[in-house]
Symmetry: C2
Subunit: 423 residues, 2 copies
């Protein structure tokens, strides 16, 4: 039988060849229709497959799992069942959707109840985020930010090539795509002014990142190696680490980013499994100097994913302002997770670990306005010839991510947030 | 009728006059006996009052609350009921325990079922920590750490007197008193060595702090003022922000503390309510320059609490190594909470906000070994004449905290953790 990632698989559901959600993807999310309670679903073409209904109908009975895990507002209970279970569910869903399987295809009543059009559904934050860490794994971005924000003579901190630099972020303010974000207020210190002022940020920025969700816990005091990390990785999401640069600049010394970040971060609604991304694994850049043994990895731990950032100003078409790829990140996700646990820190199901801004080597591949406009010195020109350094009220930032090979597109959907005025 | 804080209140339970848990305290915690499920209790003298049993017996029926909130492994569901409810429960418990109330006193069967000796009970982490922020609100400690860890010429960062400096910490690794902690491993850069090494920390330290627990949520995008913060404060705990100084020193630039902290933090098991601490409110130090309006507070927002740190080496008596008081902290807890929400960041029930190391102005009042031994240059001498700069395996650190006035002692019990060898 064809495996779930085989490019030759086809479903009995009509799916556009340009869809980011072919039968080879099957990302997990949480959705609701109308007043219905949120439940777990899988994206397929323009539809969502309702796993809650399939579970109630006994279609997962052979997998020996409690189907109530799909009748939940978050994926956490499902992913806590462990990697063999995620895989078994994805494989089972793949089989149910194939054009040669009749279980749903030939049961019009069931089909009507288990398939929802995405346009009719509301998508929710898919995971209750237990803990959130933001790394800064792009050498290009770390160098750019060091040049712009810190000491141009020593742009890269001495530790940067020895460990994946990161910090703990705020979990409560992580929202799903579609959530509008009020311009945050905060303390800023304007050049030349002797005292700080409290005001809406004048330097509202995005950060293009990829995040991964953990699907297993560890006990406090234990560590996992970078190679063991594979068993703890459930899936990836697009991540926007919304940032207020003026607030960040004033508060950041000596203890790191705080309120310049915690007003909001955003994730895409569909969690794309590592299994679906398996065909898109690539080698990362050579790490030199060699990493310490606990950070060594074997095999391809990077992913070839085309990432795009669009800016849409009010009453204007959206404009592509950056294009990059996480394959160039210096540190891979296994190394991030191994580093997080290297001191015995315990993982929890539903932790989110983000890559930090993903910037390529060319100016049109930078993952933040701080870098794209070189701290405001090179404004972006919009279709109506107005310009942007940082974001204005009413602007929308849209991230898209898609991996493509052999005619199969594995996408993340979009991550979209609009900026509302300060309250 | 006498109020719950009246020094003249007495209980029908025999309580030693030196107890930290008189009828005027009534701190909330979570405990279990044997194989019993954890439940909510209140400390009184040498006993714990089982609120789960009292709820089942209908003794809270007049309060119009779901007594099942006491049949939980964490306080969160109870404190989510809001400040009027915490107060009503504390007042009701106070009445039930007074020597002139017969409801439990004259019911031997109920008394037997609702009173547990503390020595027979296991105390659990009282709160499921939703989010954790560590501030650094002691001017003396911030100055000391600046001198030792950063730039002696600019010990205090330029922002320090304008905002309560803080960072997001790791919630998953917060443990309750009594939990032993394995010496963490991590990357350290030894002076003179060209490359970092991965090894057990050689600079394991404690940080004496006070933490507060939030009892109400806010919506993302909204802020609360420092004066409004009173309605969001459930209670205080002792907090040990365990730190590995060599790991911290190497990793901290540019994004702040990370694995040097996240291997473990610890809290005391009893949450002392703000209501019980009301008689111990005092004015804090004058803040100059004046704070911005969103950080202004009226009235006394500091607390007069005697804090003590003991070090117990293996086979030796414990030694008092520091004594200080949070009344001298520069920033108060209302300002911390207002600052946290000033950018619209949402609060959740069960958030923990810690003060940062509490150091007084004298060297015997410093709240960490980094400061007490001045980064190892002034070792502490133990009873057997051995010395400590940082902690050795088998050492135990004990925090105690107690407020005392008019013969009433409102205590936190103790926060105790033993250091085990690295695994």
């Amino acid at each position: 039988m064809l495996k779930a990632n085989d490019p030759n698989l086809h479903s009995w559901i009509q799916i556009s060849p340009t869809s980011e959600f072919p039968i080879q993807n099957l990302p997990f999310g949480v959705f609701s229709v109308g007043e219905q309670d949120p439940r777990v679903g899988v994206a397929l073409g323009d539809y969502i497959l309702d796993l809650c209904v399939l579970g109630q109908e006994g279609l997962f009975d052979l997998l020996n799992l409690d189907p109530n895990v799909f009748n939940r507002s978050f994926l956490n209970d499902f992913i806590a069942l462990g990697k063999p279970c995620w895989r078994a569910v994805r494989d089972r869903v793949s089989i149910l959707l194939r054009n040669d399987n009749a279980e749903i295809r030939d049961n019009p009543d069931l089909m009507r109840r288990c398939l929802v059009k995405q346009v009719d559904a509301q998508l929710h934050l898919p995971v209750k985020i237990s803990n959130y860490t933001d790394f800064h794994t792009s050498l290009e971005s770390a160098t750019n930010v060091g040049l712009l924000f810190r000491d141009p003579e020593n742009a890269l901190s001495p530790n940067w090539k020895h460990l994946p630099v990161g910090y703990h972020g705020r979990a409560s303010s992580i929202v799903v795509s579609g959530t509008s974000i009020h311009r945050p207020k905060g303390q800023v210190k304007i050049d030349g002014s002797p005292l700080p002022a409290f005001m809406p940020t004048q330097q509202l920025d995005f950060e293009l990142e990829i995040g991964f969700i953990t699907g297993a816990s560890t006990a406090l005091g234990t560590s996992i190696t970078a190679n063991q990390a594979d068993d703890y990785l459930f899936g990836l999401v697009l991540f926007n680490d919304w940032s207020a640069r003026d607030i960040q600049r004033w508060e950041q010394q000596p203890l790191g980013p705080f309120l310049g970040k915690s007003f909001a971060s955003a994730i895409s609604p569909w969690v794309v499994t590592l299994d679906a991304l398996e065909p898109f694994r690539v080698a990362g850049p050579t790490q030199s100097p060699a990493v310490l043994p606990y950070l060594e990895t074997a095999g391809n731990k990077h992913f070839d994913i085309s990432l795009k950032v669009y800016l849409q100003a009010p009453q204007q078409p959206s404009v592509l302002i950056s294009q990059t790829n996480p394959r160039y990140l210096y540190w891979n996700i296994n190394q991030q997770l191994a580093h997080q646990t290297s001191n015995g820190c315990n993982l929890q199901v539903g932790d989110l670990y983000a890559s930090g801004t993903i910037s390529g080597s060319e100016p049109d591949s930078y993952g933040s306005l701080l870098e794209l406009t070189w701290n405001g010195s090179k404004p972006i020109v919009l279709p109506d010839e107005s310009t942007r350094t940082y974001l204005q009220d009413g602007d929308t930032i849209i991230f898209k991510g898609c991996a493509e090979r052999n005619g199969v597109r594995i996408g993340f959907g979009e991550l979209r947030n609009k900026i509302l005025p300060a309250v």
